[in-house]
């Protein structure tokens, strides 16, 4: 652990020293990325197995082959003369050839790995009924178009939630036992309900009763022309879903993080900081908030994973044109490629959430920044 480092006092503050940290972090991030990628791959593979137990993926693929082959046959002037029976014969022949070429006649295990590649790249072919705004029927295009609104809504909500909850939790932990503190503790069970549930109430109050805010959608229809108007309209529309997400998690976050702060503020080093005569502001910031942050980030990651699921319904309730709403429409129209695609995209999003918080964690925890890997099981 020690003794092998011979850098002297000056070198500790030199660029080289920083570089050592930077390299360690990069290495750690790279490692985490690889591991998460493997994790996602396994997850998607499991999804494919589940989906194809009912033959869904096979059906989609065969349907697509048949469609494209018959289109090609119909368009080919060479076959125009032939009777429909003959044409069907040729089509069937070609479908068979195509099936062989794509390996659909191979054993399930082999096929499942072929699907894995197409699923990971979202190359799921064409949606059955759904279309992207630009008219494309490719699943990938449809999904990517919906990604941004989801990320805007959810990302913004997470950032606000985190900031508000950390500040409030620290504030309350200093006023432990006060009326306000007890009120927040009493409110913590409100987080038992998911965000869409609060969405309904907010809609009832602010859209239905008071009429202040729109019922749903992302912007007015038709969309405003100027950027400023577009932005203002977006802001008006985002308030309710945003508040719903935050409302559904904020009290639990404050309650549990306040408890973390209280537990961490019992650590010996906090008392030492007090003994050293540090002002209470520095103690709060450097000796309570800072060492607690890694724990909070871990807790936040778990919270986010469960919040993603609530967001699917929330988008539906508020007509927010994101992935959740897309999934809802796909369900109603039995658009299987889009549903399977959604599972993959959400797996990516969950992995991305975990990955981002991993990076934050690695920056917060010096054990990762400078120490050896701590992954020993």
């Amino acid at each position: 652990m020690f003794g092998k480092d011979t850098t002297d006092l000056k070198a500790n503050y030199s660029f080289l020293f920083m570089w050592r940290h930077f390299k360690k972090i990069c290495l750690y991030i790279l490692k985490r990325f690889l591991i998460l990628f493997i994790t996602v791959t396994i997850g998607v593979y499991l999804t494919i197995l589940v989906a194809n137990m009912g033959g869904a993926v096979d059906e989609i693929r065969e349907g697509q082959i048949r469609e494209s082959v018959s289109m090609a046959v119909a368009r080919d002037p060479e076959f125009q003369e032939l009777s429909s029976d003959e044409r069907q014969g040729i089509t069937a022949q070609r479908v068979e050839l195509e099936r062989e070429r794509l390996g659909l006649d191979r054993p399930f295990i082999v096929r499942s790995f072929m699907y894995l590649r197409t699923a990971l790249t979202l190359d799921l072919g064409r949606a059955e009924t759904l279309r992207s705004d630009s008219g494309s029927a490719r699943v990938r295009n449809i999904m990517l178009e919906r990604l941004l609104p989801t990320l805007v809504l959810f990302g913004l909500a997470d950032i606000i939630l985190f900031t508000v909850a950390v500040v409030a939790a620290l504030f309350l932990s200093r006023r432990y036992g006060s009326k306000l503190d007890r009120a927040v503790v009493a409110l913590a069970p409100t987080s038992a309900a998911p965000s869409w549930f609060y969405g309904i109430f907010l809609m009832l109050i602010f859209a239905s009763f008071l009429g202040f805010l729109p019922f749903g959608g992302m912007v007015e229809s038709p969309p405003p022309d100027t950027h400023l108007q577009y932005f203002l309209s977006l802001a008006r529309h985002i308030i309710l879903p945003l508040s719903a997400i935050i409302l559904s998690a904020v009290f639990l976050a404050i309650y549990s993080w306040r408890t973390f702060f209280l537990i961490y503020s019992r650590e010996d080093y906090v008392e030492m900081a007090k003994a050293k005569g540090l002002p209470s502001f520095s103690i709060d910031l450097r000796y309570i908030l800072r060492p607690t942050l890694p724990t909070i980030v871990t807790n936040f990651a778990l919270m986010l994973i469960s919040m993603w699921m609530g967001a699917i319904v929330l988008e539906t309730i508020f007509n927010w044109p994101g992935l959740g709403r897309l999934l809802f429409r796909a369900i109603n129209q039995y658009d299987t490629p889009v549903i399977i695609g959604s599972v993959v995209v959400y797996a990516y999003l969950l992995a991305l959430t975990v990955f981002l918080l991993d990076i934050v964690y690695s920056l917060l925890d010096p054990r990762i920044r400078v120490g050896e890997g701590t992954e020993n099981a």
Binding site: A192, W196, F197, F328, I331
Partner: protein, 448 residues
């Protein structure tokens, strides 16, 4: 263990919120038991499936009956009067040639401030060839008589008076259900309260022919919870939603927490590859999007609530809970008393069941209780997405209907608020108890 439970019960008295939560849980439980007894399972299914004829006599989209408790509100209730009831008068005069005249008078009081939603007559006629002929006259409390219609009647004829366009003309352009109940020349139309009467003057042309009629004046209010767009009484769904929600959540919570804990214990105890494998599976499972997968299965396989339950449990076994339990079990595994037990010869199974799990069980209790609401809401979430169980009446499906029918846009708040109230009550009840238990059982939180 009994000591610990006794102590926990003692301590829970210090948490008023937990007491309140326990009261909620107990009342929900009684409601569940009552529902199952009052409406047998098969009846509940039939009622909810709304086969033809079952919900004919309930108003569409009516508010709950207790709406009238609001001071100053006096909306019409559902009124029905049958020719077979004692209040009704039925006179049969034999006219010879097998012909008879049947005069039925159906009186009813109407003392409300609002107009009803619909008026429908349900005829029950018995004949072999020739249909009976009836003429209907409406008697208002102030003595006016309004001819409604004259027509022949089939066996199970339904006359929707409120939809008769001809009548509308006779009523100076007012829709029948307003025109028939308004004070003449009041503007805007005002209800004339008092004793109304419908006279059905019928002619039957056969010897054994019979004629009976029921009038239903559909109120704006119905039952304990109102009705939906298919005239179903929401009370049925809301009542039956309780045992379903509780059973579903309870099974899901038991299924996932107990197995999770056991697997975590096994992993920690045997360590090595078993532990590592369990951990890696957990990591994969954590990035699996549970809800989309459930949706996928719902679409591709089955929407049955029990299939969903199985998936929830399977996905829930290797959840983040494993990591939490693992951390605790790792500490427990290092406890000297476990080592001592090995030294005096306790086997693996004995150590797992008699030494490790009892130590962690107290931690499971609050987690279990806190998990219940999340499963209650999960069922609702699935239902909202249209993946509710095709047969069972659940709170989530009521919400789903309300959402599909834009209940909030059209001001039918009760439709959303009642299931929402039940959901949130259940959620709060369990969460409040769970949070209190967490503070009692979790020594780290005890003092906070």
């Amino acid at each position: 263990m009994p000591d610990q439970i006794k102590a926990a019960i003692q301590e829970i008295k210090n948490y008023p919120s937990a007491i309140f939560g326990i009261c909620i849980i107990l009342s929900l439980f009684s409601l569940a038991v009552y529902s199952v007894i009052a409406i047998p399972y098969q009846d509940a299914i039939t009622l909810w499936r709304a086969d033809v004829g079952i919900w004919d006599r309930t108003p569409r989209n009516a508010r709950p009956a207790w709406f009238n408790w609001v001071p100053g509100v006096n909306l019409p209730q559902n009124i029905s009067s049958s020719s077979q009831s004692p209040q009704a008068k039925k006179e049969i005069t034999d006219l010879g040639n097998g012909m008879s005249r049947i005069v039925i008078e159906l009186p009813f009081r109407f003392d409300y401030d609002g107009f009803p939603k619909e008026i429908t007559l349900f005829f029950d006629a018995e004949y072999t060839e020739t249909r009976p002929w009836v003429s209907l006259v409406w008697h208002t409390p102030d003595g006016r008589e309004i001819d409604i219609v004259e027509q022949s009647i089939r066996e199970q004829e339904r006359l929707r008076i409120s939809q008769m366009e001809d009548l509308r003309e006779n009523l100076f352009g007012y829709r029948p259900l307003i025109g028939l109940f308004m004070k003449p020349e009041s503007e805007p139309p005002d209800v004339k309260k008092g004793e109304y009467k419908l006279t059905v003057d019928g002619l039957v042309f056969e010897e054994d022919a019979q004629l009976d009629v029921d009038i239903v004046v559909y109120g704006q209010l119905y039952g304990a919870a109102g009705t939906d767009h298919r005239r179903r009484s929401l009370a049925v769904a809301l009542m039956w939603g309780t045992p379903i929600a509780l059973a579903f959540a309870f099974l899901a919570a038991v299924g996932s927490t107990l197995t999770t804990m056991f697997i975590a214990a096994v992993g920690v105890w045997f360590g090595g590859i078993i532990d590592a494998t369990i951990q890696r599976i957990t990591e994969v499972n954590m990035i699996l999007p549970a809800l989309p997968i459930m949706i996928m299965v719902g679409i591709l396989y089955s929407r049955s609530i029990w299939v969903m339950l199985a998936i929830i449990i399977i996905l829930g076994i290797f959840s983040a809970g494993i990591k939490t339990y693992r951390a605790v079990f790792l500490q427990v595994k290092e406890a000297p008393y476990i080592e001592a037990a090995r030294a005096y010869g306790a086997g693996n199974l004995r150590i797992l069941i008699k030494y490790m799990i009892p130590k962690v069980l107290p931690m499971l209790v609050p987690q279990f209780v806190v998990l219940i609401p999340s499963f209650v809401f999960l069922e609702a979430t699935l239902a909202i997405l249209g993946l509710g169980d095709p047969l069972l009446p659940t709170w989530g499906k009521v919400l789903n209907d309300a959402h599909q029918q834009d209940a909030l846009l059209s001001g039918q708040y009760y439709w959303v608020l009642l299931p929402a109230f039940l959901l949130i009550t259940t959620g709060f009840g369990f969460a409040m108890v769970g949070f209190a238990l967490d503070r009692i059982f979790n020594p780290r939180l005890k003092s906070y």
